[in-house]
């Protein structure tokens, strides 16, 4: 042992021991023999320096509670140490048992999982270790302050951005629960993409249903619900967030037609002479500059597209209701809401980015969306299937799948757009039903129809749709007709398919609105620019901005059913927050406004997006802050502190662990986050071993362990420090990087940097963690500085 223990070990920064007169009670649990069969409790009791030391068979029982409470009252205890099992099992129990003391004035020494179950073959060592663990807890509680949990409540109104099927579904769910919703829609009507989809597939009925007939009741409900305020022609310009409060600035463009007066008679459009491509029909037909997007549109009113209007005033003259005014100003609408749901949806891949397929060059190459409009009875051909070149019914239609999907080449998307196989089968089925003589061929790579959709796929094959497995190379013109060049991979044959119509199944990608709102709200996005969920598996619909949720195709490609399900989930998450509020552990950052110079370093460094500047003051959102302490390290003014004396508590624990260290003892201090700590518990639960030298300290985030703590431990007798963190933690990369700088610091303090170890930890891999402890202990024992 070369790093000799400092004979006068003191706590840093504590000039005197202000808490030396605190009355600490230690309660030792025998745990029905689980602890006391290995650890000599009598010896432990006589070795401790505390006001009260009690033992009991089962501290977690109600009798245990009585003993603890009575003792606290009769002995006037200030602090409590429970020496029992793991805090993972019973911390909440004992926080409750020490009432009327503040719950944070208690600490647990883990004598069971980390001691008696690990060292059951060596009672003597186990007993010594138990004393050290309890001493560490005693020193820790001496540094603890009473703090209260923070309760956050958010106002019960919600802004939903995007008025498609997702936004409408979420709005309805919340409105029906009594919450107020502002539904913000960029275009002139709510309804979104579903309104123009024509028919939708139903896997259960194995049939196609009228999309608008399903949408219309939802749309009407949204319109009639008094808790929903619909803002069309509106977009979010700005968003500020403050602890469960969002201030949005919404820009509403004028409609130029008074929705209250308009009776949708259409005389204005008759009078208008400006023809514009009708986006509702994917540009396959035209509309006037004054128009109603579609007959069931809401508001049930005409609207002027001012970008194209030539202000001739003919519509004003034609309107019998005097509802039209050609002048209007944009209106700025401020909204204050408790939560925001992003339902800004998708757009379709531009097929011109795959020019080999001839879209835009050949009239009879169209997209599935355009085919949907052509087949829609409210579409440009009133539902009659025809070629755009000459109005004839096509003899053959070749559908090309994955245009822009599953394609990592420039402009393409690596992901599967998920709905295109079903969309192609649906449109193929509709055609086969109405035009049995038209041959429909789908060129595919894989047909993806999971679950019940597979039945629909079989049904389609039964109707005579043909499938060729191959991804076409190009579409060429051959006289009046088209040629699709592809390999039939099952035949291993290059073929040219003569056809007179080609339909491209284009990828779904994030809409411009999705990209815009992500930027405005500083919400994280995926590599594909969809809005990112904070954990794709266990935290669906939540984003990395607290209080902001996502649903529908703004999040990733999905069909209507899934969009509605996700919208309902987002509504449930909002409702959760509104109705119960959130109780937050108080160990979060706080700003000393006197010191803060608003440099903003903390804002950019915070992975939880908890910091912002509001009214010239730095603000920390308690709902977002995790107490990780990263901001402290970048604050030049030392203006940030974490509530609850975390630094001091870590120093206290280390001090307690080392203060009675003897010369030939080896003590390695291990810091684990709660995932790592649970894994360490599992080592004991499974009665595996690790060396006696291992002393584990549980920390909220290992990022809170500062270089000064590590240096302090090594300078004062710790033979090694080992840090374990779960790689799924947001801070993992930071911590991993930090290790190198800490090692340098250890070197500059003339100690061996090899005394610091770092590893990732996972709950199920407790055996691996035990092995790592053993290996680290061996390494430390072999070190000669």
């Amino acid at each position: 042992m070369s790093n000799i223990k400092d004979e006068n070990l003191i706590l840093p920064r504590l000039e005197e021991e202000p808490n030396s007169d605190l009355r600490v009670g230690v309660f030792i649990c025998r745990c029905g023999g689980n602890i006391s069969d290995v650890i000599d409790i009598r010896k432990v009791k006589t070795s401790l320096n505390a006001t009260v030391v009690e033992e009991f068979e089962n501290l977690c029982s109600l009798n245990g509670r009585k003993i603890i409470r009575d003792s606290i009252v009769s002995e006037n205890l200030d602090r409590v140490v429970i020496a029992a099992c793991s805090p993972i099992s019973h911390e909440k129990t004992f926080q409750d048992y020490i009432q009327p003391l503040n719950p944070y004035l208690m600490d647990m020494a883990n004598l069971r999982e980390h001691c008696s179950w690990i060292h059951d073959d060596n009672p003597e060592k186990a007993t010594e270790k138990a004393i050290v663990l309890i001493n560490a807890s005693i020193e820790k509680v001496k540094q603890s302050n009473a703090v209260d949990p923070i309760l956050c409540r958010t106002p019960d109104n919600v802004a939903i951005v995007g008025g498609g099927i997702s936004g409408m579904s979420a709005a309805l769910s919340l409105a029906k629960q009594g919450m107020h919703v502002d539904l913000i829609e960029k275009s002139a009507t709510i309804g979104g993409n579903m309104a123009k989809i024509g028919k939708v597939f139903s896997p259960v009925k194995i049939a196609e249903e009228c999309g608008l007939c399903l949408l219309n009741p939802i749309l009407n409900e949204v319109v009639w619900n008094k808790n929903i305020n619909i803002l069309t022609n509106s977009k979010v310009l700005k968003c500020d967030r403050r602890g469960g409060n969002f201030s949005l600035l919404v820009e509403s463009s004028p409609r130029y037609v008074d929705s209250e007066k308009c009776i949708s008679c259409g005389k204005c459009a008759e009078a208008c002479e400006v023809e514009v491509a009708d986006s509702w029909n994917d540009g396959l037909s035209t509309r006037k500059a004054i128009y109603k997007p579609f007959s069931q549109a809401y508001p049930d009113s005409y609207v002027i597209d001012m970008e194209n209007c030539d202000k001739c005033s003919e519509c004003v003259k034609a309107c019998p209701m005097n509802a039209i005014k050609l002048r209007g100003e944009k209106e700025m609408v401020p909204l204050n809401t408790g939560s925001v749901i992003l339902a800004t949806g998708h757009k379709l891949f531009d097929p011109k980015l795959r020019p080999e397929y001839g879209y835009g060059r050949f009239e009879n190459v169209i997209t599935q969306s355009e085919l949907g409009r052509i087949m829609g009875v409210n579409g440009p051909t009133r539902g009659k299937l025809q070629k755009l070149s000459n109005g004839e019914v096509p003899k053959r239609i070749v559908m090309i799948q994955c245009v822009g999907s599953r394609d990592e080449k420039p402009d393409g998307h690596k992901y599967c757009s998920k709905v295109c196989c079903m969309v192609a089968l649906k449109n193929a089925n509709i055609i086969k039903n109405k035009y049995p003589d038209t041959d429909v061929v789908i060129c595919y790579t894989d047909v993806r129809t999971p679950g019940m959709y597979e039945k629909y796929y079989k049904h389609s094959q039964q109707s005579g749709i043909r499938l060729i497995r191959g991804r076409p190379g190009e579409v060429a013109k051959n006289g009046e007709n088209l040629i699709v060049r592809t390999e039939d991979t099952l035949q291993k044959d290059f073929i040219e398919i003569e056809t007179d119509m080609v339909v491209l199944s284009t990828a779904l990608e994030p809409s411009e609105g999705t990209k815009e709102i992500a930027e405005i709200m500083d919400v994280g996005v995926t590599e594909d620019f969809f809005i990112k969920e904070s954990h794709p598996k266990i935290k669906p619909v939540t984003t990395d901005v607290k209080g902001a949720y996502v649903c529908g195709t703004a999040q990733d490609p999905k069909d209507i059913t899934e969009s509605i399900m996700q919208s309902t989930a987002a509504a449930a998450k909002v409702s959760e927050m509104i109705h119960n509020g959130i109780e937050i552990e108080p160990f979060i950052a706080e700003i000393d406004q006197e010191q803060c110079n608003l440099c903003g370093n903390c804002i950019s460094t915070c992975k939880y997006k908890a910091l912002s500047v509001k009214d010239d003051l730095m603000y920390i959102d308690p709902m977002s802050c995790s107490g990780c302490g990263k901001c402290l390290t970048v604050c030049d003014k030392n203006a940030i502190n974490i509530n609850g004396n975390i630094d001091e508590k870590i120093f206290g624990t280390i001090y307690g662990m080392l203060k009675d260290k003897k010369k030939d003892d080896r003590r390695i201090i291990v810091f684990l986050d709660s995932i790592g700590y649970t894994a360490a518990d599992n080592i004991g639960v499974n009665r595996l071993n690790f060396p006696e030298s291992i002393y584990i300290i549980k920390v909220h985030s290992v990022n809170r362990v500062m270089p000064k703590h590590i240096i302090y431990a090594l300078q004062n007798g710790a033979d090694g420090v080992f840090i374990g963190e779960y790689p799924g933690d947001l801070m993992y990369d930071e911590v991993e990087k930090k290790m190198e700088t800490i090692k340098e610091k250890i070197s500059t303090n003339n100690m061996n940097p090899e005394r610091l170890g770092f590893s990732h930890v996972y709950i199920p891999y407790f055996r691996g963690l035990a092995d790592k402890f053993i290996a680290f202990d061996e390494k430390i024992s072999s070190l000669e500085d």
Partner: protein, 196 residues
């Protein structure tokens, strides 16, 4: 092909991925056999060459693909490389397979007509079409072309272009490099029908 328990069909693919020619992050193992390479392949349009099938055989560990006649029908046009949705490149893989065939000594006949590329590089540090093909070209293209070839230096003078042959010092450098790289030995082995 049957698959025995101890066989690893990906050996061949992994050897290709480790080849000097293999591009970074080549998507060979990501191939889903969509056939887009074959769908846009001039070789597939006009011969039995099928790049998708070639990749399939590689992924099955079928080494007979190295000796297949059809792989010599690739044009090295890189169309498949530029469109492959998973970042594979049948074109690049084909080039590697042909090098394997050369290394195995089974492709000497394929390479021999082109050895002059190596010879003129070693002797004059030049590229250009091997003269072995000139008689047939003269016949196909015509006498005007032949006359131009005979008068190349005059034409170049008229265009105010200097000599296209590098100075002797450069030729010597290149010659030394190609001998030390084992290139000369390689082409001699091919010429003498041996395994390089």
């Amino acid at each position: 092909m049957d698959l025995k328990l101890n066989e690893d069909p990906l050996n061949l693919a992994n050897t290709i991925l480790k080849d000097i020619k293999s591009s970074e992050n080549l998507g060979l193992l990501r191939c889903v056999q969509c056939g887009m390479c074959t769908s846009s392949c001039p070789g597939a349009m006009h011969s039995n060459f099928n790049p998708r099938d070639m990749i399939e055989k590689i992924l099955e560990g079928d080494e007979t693909v190295i000796e297949e006649e059809d792989i010599w029908n690739c044009f090295y046009c890189y169309t498949c490389h530029s469109i492959c949705p998973v970042g594979n490149s049948a074109c690049e893989v084909n080039q590697i397979l042909r090098q394997f065939a050369i290394s195995k000594g089974t492709a000497n006949k394929k390479i021999q007509p082109f050895l002059e590329f190596g010879d003129i590089f070693l002797s004059m540090a030049l590229g250009g079409i091997p003269s072995i093909f000139f008689p047939e070209m003269r016949e196909d293209i015509g006498e005007d072309w032949w006359e131009f070839k005979m008068n190349l230096d005059n034409v170049r003078n008229k265009l105010d272009l200097g000599s296209y042959i590098p100075p002797q010092e450069s030729i010597d450098e290149v010659n030394k490099l190609l001998i030390n790289s084992g290139f000369e030995e390689r082409i001699e082995a091919i010429r003498n029908n041996k395994k390089p």
